[in-house]
Every structure is written in structure tokens, then in C-alpha cells.
Amino acid sequence: MASTIRVRATSSGENTEVQALVQHPMDSGYVKDAQGAIIPAHFIQQLTFEHGGKRVFVADWGPAVAKDPYVKFSFKGGQKGDDLKIGWVDNKGASDSTTAKIG
Amino acid sequence: MRVLLAITLLISGASGALAASEADFKAAYAAAEAAEKEAGNLRNRWLPTETALAAARKAAEGGDFDAATAQAKEAEALAKASIFQATSEKERWKDMEIR
């Protein structure tokens, strides 16, 4: 099973730009299914990025973040070949994590 | 445009029916079904026709033959309009062609 997390992290030498896409329904809790029943809210609450033992970014999300959520940010430092650890946890307690190499 | 006008006229005529019996409903429904079958043969069924047929069946199951008959007549009008459309488009589509 492939990871739910796709990451592109590129170092310019000075900064590292990170883009991540996570496979998740991000159900808002306001949508009905074909039978008219409410699809319960199901969304990632927190997504964290760690580089060199330090958190470089924490996303706190509600159900208004789009399906298969995307985020882009940059941090100072980070070299080609460094590890970037990414993990998420959703409102049902499910989680996933991965380690990406900075390119 | 002509098609839409035809539907409007037919529907307003249909809704004038009063105190329909089960037999009235059955006759109206059979006519609607026959027209929809013909539309199907022409590969040109319309979604609202199917919706009206379903509403007619539901109303009849609930014993409301007035509503059921009105829905069946609406379905027939829609099906006939779709037949008219398919027939008139047989040659007319060529007018639209980019050449």
C-alpha cells in the first residue's frame, strides 16, 4: 500500500521549499450520501513536518481544507539528501507518516 | 424552443384533470409508458420523463389517483416531446455542422 503522503522538498542551498499532498477524504460533515444520510466529518487535524530533530511546520486543519489536502511552505536550511519527516493524524485517530529526502 | 413550448401547453392541459379514478390512472400510465418506450427506441429518453413516471407510480401506490394521473400525463407529454425532438433532429442536425 502506497503512502498517503506525497512530498516534494527542494533545497536552494539557503532555503528548502516543501510541497505536500495527502490522500484523505476531508469529509466536512455537511454532505449527504446518495441515500440522503449525512457523511460524518472525517478530516486530518494535524500535519507535522520535522527536519533535523526540529519541527519546521505544523498544520492544524478543520474540515474546510479541501479533499486530498495540499500545503506549501519553506524553511531556512535543509540540504540535498536530508531527511524530512512528515506525519498526520485525523479526527478518527487514524494516522500515517513518511520520511522524504530533500532534493 | 418549439419543443419547450409544446411541453408547457401539454402540462398545463394535463393538470386540469379532476377526480381521477384508478382506471384513469392506468390508462394515462400505459399511454405514457408506450410513448417512453418509443423514445427509448429512438435512443432519446429524457430524465424528467423517468422522474414523472416514478412520481406517478408512487402517487398511485399511495392511492392518490388525481396526482398519479396528472404525473402520468406529464410523463406522456415529456415523452412525446422527446420523440418530436428525435424525429425533427434526424436531418436538422446538419444545419449546425461546422464546415
Binding site: A2, R6, R8, Q19, A20, L21, Q23, K67, D68, Y70, K72 | M1, V3, L4, I7, R43, N44, R45, W46, L47, P48, E50, L78, A81, S82, Q85, A86, E89, R92, W93, K94, M96, E97, I98, R99
Partner: protein
């Protein structure tokens, strides 16, 4: 344009069709029409370019690649059913099969491949089929659409039948495909910006935000039908196969850009 009233002339049709779009949108480069509404609207193009930084079809593409490589229960795979192992061939579909006397689409060929190897066919409108075609389209990106009409009267009939379907008004709203995608591309119909018909299939399959997911060519045709309040035909009905043949032929020479992302 001079031509005999009843002669079927695909070459002339394709030229006239292309000229129409070039004249209507003089600023749009021919190969850019494959980007649909984004080729016609600046504000939308910006949103699209942002999306393409990490496109929403990425997961389908990965899933498709995995599915394509995974052998069937009998040990064979999709690669055994297609020329060149299925890689870089999407631009040749649909093609006219002279044995069958009918148009064969990529989606149909994929399911026939499955059935020939003892596997159940996939739904034509759901994710698995979209993932597979997304992967195959990806391996053909940039290759020009290359649809052939063999010298067979049945092929010409299929082409003409597709053209008829394209221009015929249907549904309670009394719209043809052409009403929206030839006469009014770039305009908003309710909320959507209509895509130009030229190159529209080059971007398939697509991730549509409106669907919150992927859709095949089958799904695209069926959705168009129901939006005019016509009852959609069954997926891969002869009419749809012929329509795909006609539309793809008109886009010959334009690059494959699928999988695409659309509103």
C-alpha cells in the same frame, strides 16, 4: 468550402473544425486547446497552474501505474494485450477494428483485456478505469493524437454517426454537444466554463473538482447527457464509441495532455 452534399469528408471536416476554433480564439495556440477552459480564461488558468504544482490526479496516476504492472491471476498482464506493452500508445485510441466492424476505445480494450484473461470487467465510470487510463495517457503525454480512418465504408459510417451524435440536440434542455462546446466554449453555463470541443478528449481522464474525483471519457459523455436532462446511454454504447472516434479524429495532431485537472 466546396464539397459534395452527401460525401463524408473527415479531412475537410477536421480542417473546417480547426479553422473555426482558430478564428474564434485567435490568441490561443492550437496545441493549447487541449487545456480546455484554462486555455480561454486567465483567472482560471492561474488557479489551474497552482493546482498543477501538485496535481489532484497524482494519486490516481500512481494507483494506475501499480494496477497496470500487477499481473492477473493467470500471470498475464495489461502489457500483453497492447502494442508496445501498452506504453505510449494512448494517442492511437480509439481505433476502427475492421474485424469487428466497430470502433474500439481504450476503455473498452482494457476491459476486453481483463475478460480475455479471466478477470471481471471494471466499471467504466469509476476510479480504477480512470486510474488505468490516467497512467496510459501519462505515458503518451505530448504525443500527437493519431486516429486513423481506414478505407472501409463502415469506418466512415462510424465517423459520420459520431458526428451526427455530436450535433444532435437532445434532452429537455434541447442542447447538442456542439451548442456548448463549439458555439459557447469559454462562456459560463450556470457556473461552469465550457471547454472547447477541439482537444477535449486529449486531456482525458480528468480529475474534476466538481466530482471530487477522477472521471473517464465514459463518465464525461454520460454527465454531459444528464446535464441536458437526457437519459445517458449505457457506457461504451455504439453512439459513444462513434462520438469518441469522431471527436478524437478532429483533434489529430494535438498533443495528449491527460490526465487532466478540471473544475
Amino acid at each position: 468550402m466546396t464539397r459534395a452534399a452527401e460525401a463524408i469528408d473527415p479531412v475537410g471536416d477536421a480542417k473546417a473544425f480547426r479553422d473555426y476554433f482558430i478564428k474564434k480564439f485567435p490568441k490561443v495556440k492550437l496545441e493549447d486547446f487541449v487545456n480546455g477552459p484554462y486555455s480561454l480564461n486567465e483567472d482560471m488558468r492561474k488557479q489551474w497552474e497552482e493546482k498543477e504544482e501538485f496535481p489532484p490526479y497524482e494519486f490516481a496516476l500512481d494507483a494506475g501505474k501499480e494496477m497496470f504492472a500487477k499481473p492477473f491471476k493467470n500471470g498475464k498482464g495489461y502489457a500483453d494485450c497492447f502494442p508496445n506493452g501498452g506504453i505510449g500508445i494512448r494517442q492511437n485510441y480509439p481505433y476502427f477494428d475492421e474485424k469487428e466492424g466497430k470502433v474500439v476505445t481504450l476503455e473498452l480494450a482494457l476491459n476486453r483485456c481483463r475478460e480475455a484473461n479471466g478477470e471481471a470487467p471494471l466499471s467504466y465510470v469509476k476510479d480504477d478505469m480512470a486510474s488505468l487510463t490516467a497512467y496510459m495517457a501519462f505515458t503518451s503525454r505530448g504525443k500527437p493524437m493519431n486516429i486513423k480512418i481506414p478505407n472501409d465504408p463502415r469506418a466512415l459510417d462510424a465517423y459520420e454517426n459520431g458526428k451526427r451524435y455530436f450535433y444532435t440536440r437532445r434532452g429537455q434542455l434541447n442542447f447538442s454537444c456542439a451548442n456548448c462546446h463549439v458555439q459557447n466554449p469559454g462562456e459560463r453555463l450556470r457556473a461552469e466554463i465550457l471547454a472547447p470541443a477541439l482537444g477535449i478528449l486529449n486531456a482525458m481522464p480528468i480529475y474534476r473538482s466538481e466530482w471530487s474525483g477522477m472521471g473517464t471519457i465514459s463518465r464525461r459523455f454520460m454527465t454531459c447527457n444528464s446535464q441536458t436532462r437526457a437519459e445517458p446511454l449505457e457506457p461504451q454504447a455504439d453512439e459513444y464509441r462513434d462520438l469518441e472516434y469522431y471527436l478524437s479524429y478532429l483533434s489529430n495532431g494535438l498533443p495528449i495532455s491527460g490526465p487532466g485537472a478540471r473544475p
